[in-house]
């Protein structure tokens, strides 16, 4: 029982991390109808920037304090992500208005290739470390209930906390600020939003910047866990089934989808893996999604798709 709980908690933690990446997908899809395949590349780019800035900036300015250095690096990386968002809007999206979904999808794949190459040219392609002081030691819970207790990684716990905070902040931002209202309006109907005077271009820059911010947070957390390297951009492939499971248009869906897939993956790997030959984590999420979609084609929390002629 203790072991089972441990697996479930581990799954919840990694699920939270998946949802962090998934959140970026949902934000952009909601506001611009673009399925952003570059989200993974953005995570890598942001993490690379963060890792290198935290080396360069303190050395340049002669700052000793690690906290200050990290904060500066975070701010620097954020500025960079906003610049990236602005450039993407200017150079790509504004030229592709009114194109079909698949064309936009391909364009973001192009952006993904570009960012992968650009990030590694700019910041180098070795494995870098991000150290933001997340505690790495494991801790044991419920020691008096189970023998040996339940092992939980403190780092994961913090990461999950940060992810949850981010979700709440974003929901509040979407719900209560005027920018958030504008974002929701654009998500509902581009033309109607434009006709009442909401500047589409600015909204898209904002939304890509927010997605860049989410990518940065995800990059910092994943990066401090796994090290910053090229494979970081592959977390996007892990997050894809999460987005689809939760529904492309739903922020809570991204979170709950992440948790379901995180837990399902870990539990199935531990209990089914040995009989099937191991490594089933790779496709578990996707096959689960396939079956869920057969019942609910719009995902668990997505808006119902209505076909009109």
């Amino acid at each position: 029982m203790g072991f089972f709980l441990e697996t479930v908690i581990g799954g919840l933690m990694s699920g939270m991390l998946y949802s962090l990446v998934a959140l970026g997908f949902v934000l952009i899809f909601k506001a611009s109808g673009v399925f952003n395949f570059a989200q993974g590349a953005m995570v890598l780019f942001a993490a690379l920037a963060m890792a290198r800035f935290s080396e360069w900036l303190p050395a340049m300015l002669g700052i000793d304090s690690k906290v200050l250095g990290n904060l500066l690096a975070f701010a620097g990386a954020m500025v960079l992500m906003v610049a990236v968002a602005w450039l993407i809007e200017r150079l790509v999206l504004s030229k592709l208005v009114n194109q079909e979904g698949i064309t936009l999808l391909m364009a973001t794949l192009g952006i993904a290739y570009f960012l992968d190459g650009f990030g590694q040219t700019l910041f180098g392609s070795a494995i870098y470390k991000i150290d933001v002081g997340l505690p790495k030691d494991p801790m044991f819970l419920l020691q008096n209930v189970f023998e040996g207790g339940v092992l939980v990684n403190k780092e994961d716990l913090y990461a999950a906390g940060i992810a949850a905070t981010l979700v709440i902040v974003l929901s509040l931002f979407f719900q209560y600020t005027s920018t958030g209202r504008a974002l929701r309006a654009v998500a509902d109907d581009h033309q109607a939003a434009q006709s009442i005077g909401i500047p589409l271009n600015r909204i898209w820059v904002i939304v890509w910047s927010v997605a860049g911010f989410v990518a940065l947070v995800a990059g910092v957390i994943w990066g401090s866990k796994l090290g910053v390297q090229f494979s970081l951009s592959l977390v996007a492939l892990k997050a894809l089934p999460v987005v689809i499971l939760g529904g492309l248009t739903s922020v809570p869906g991204a979170i709950i989808g992440g948790l379901i897939i995180g837990v399902g993956e870990k539990v199935s790997e531990v209990y089914l893996g040995p009989t099937l030959g191991g490594g089933i984590e790779i496709w578990f999420g996707y096959v689960l999604v396939l079956f869920v979609l057969l019942v609910r084609p719009q995902g668990l929390f997505g808006e119902k798709i209505i076909d009109r002629v």
Partner: protein, 358 residues
């Protein structure tokens, strides 16, 4: 002046329904084919065959198959690599396990297995649409990646996980030299392109296009979505499966699942987007572009570095390759979202009127 159909009258329905109704088109295609069969073998060296021509032919075949599904029937698939892998591994098993199995039969049987898998993963398309479907097809990709890596029966229990074939022959002729491989692939490609062209302009092709343009409306006028979508999946994955078999057998010789990874799926999707969705010609343009571009960049960048006196490291070349590749894709999408095939038909329109455009 030269390219126009004035004075070419059709006296029968047969003449009216030819694949290339304009005489100039017919001669051009015949000349191109003749050049491919006779001219290229005289001109090309071994490197050209191995690095460019054979990959181009095989990937063009795969892109052709994918284009039927995505371009003609409108079902986005990111699982092409999976169907190629199924074709390759199934053909391998038929070839190795059955004594005296002819190569071409093994390839076609591999294609049939890919068809079955394709239809299986195509069933969700009856309910799932658009981007949701794209992600659902990724399930095929990751599942087959895993299956061919972990289930050793598929690889004939090879210890290293990679499989290899040798002693290929067709009708008693050995297929071992680059030239014979080239001609073999060319023959298969021509046959399939001809079949595909006829399919898409026949009644089934029109059903696919009706489904693509608006599936609800198509259903209303009496097209069965189940039948149309599943046949598109079947035909597409058959062609893709044969291409996968060729890729493994003829191009690589020995391969592992990584040869058919998700990158391959993306690569093929790029080909048909850049080449032109819903066009047989587009598959060829796209394949040529995507095959040649990396090789060109790989050679041009160091040369360019020498020119301005900067030593460019291999890592830098690889990264700038990614950058240029990505940028070019975005550029093409912006300049011509309908692909190179559209540019080609615009050029043809212009040529018809030239030199008097009014």
């Amino acid at each position: 002046m030269i390219y126009r159909e004035n004075g070419q009258f059709k006296n029968s329905y047969r003449a009216d329904q030819q694949i290339f109704p304009i005489t100039q088109d017919r001669t051009a295609i015949a000349a191109l084919l003749l050049f491919a069969v006779v001219g290229v073998p005289l001109l090309a060296d071994e490197y050209l065959f191995r690095a460019i021509l054979i990959p181009f032919l095989i990937l063009a075949l795969a892109a052709l198959g994918l284009n039927i599904l995505v371009g003609y029937c409108g079902q986005i698939s990111l699982g092409t690599g999976a169907f190629m892998a199924v074709g390759a591994y199934a053909a391998y098993n038929f070839f190795v396990r059955i004594q005296g199995m002819p190569l071409i039969v093994a390839l076609l049987l591999g294609g049939l297995c890919a068809t079955v898998v394709g239809v299986l993963f195509g069933i969700p398309s009856l309910r799932i649409k658009g981007l949701y479907l794209a992600v659902a097809t990724l399930a095929a990709q990751f599942f087959t990646d895993w299956a061919f890596l972990r289930i050793s029966w598929f690889t004939n229990n090879s210890s290293s996980g990679s499989v290899s074939v040798s002693n290929l022959s067709f009708l008693g002729l050995p297929i071992s030299s680059p030239l014979s491989k080239y001609l073999f692939c060319l023959a298969i490609l021509v046959v399939f392109a001809w079949l595909a062209k006829n399919l898409v302009r026949g009644h089934i092709g029109r059903e696919w296009m009706a489904i693509r343009d608006m599936d609800v409306a198509a259903a209303v006028i009496g097209i069965r979505p189940v039948y149309a979508k599943l046949t598109a999946f079947a035909v597409s994955s058959f062609i893709v499966g044969v291409a996968g078999g060729l890729w493994g057998f003829v191009h690589l010789g020995s391969w592992e699942p990584a040869a058919f990874s998700i990158d391959r799926s993306f690569q093929l999707l790029f080909m048909i987007i850049i080449g032109g969705l819903g066009s047989i010609m587009g598959a060829f343009f796209g394949a040529a572009f995507i095959v040649i571009l990396p090789i060109f960049l790989n050679r041009a960048l160091p040369a360019l570095g020498d020119l301005i006196g900067v030593e460019i490291s291999t890592a830098a070349v690889a990264h700038s390759e990614l950058m240029i590749f990505g940028a070019l894709i975005v550029f093409f999408l912006i300049v011509e979202p309908h692909g190179l095939a559209r540019l080609w038909s615009t050029a043809k329109e212009k040529m018809r009127l030239w030199p008097f455009p009014h």
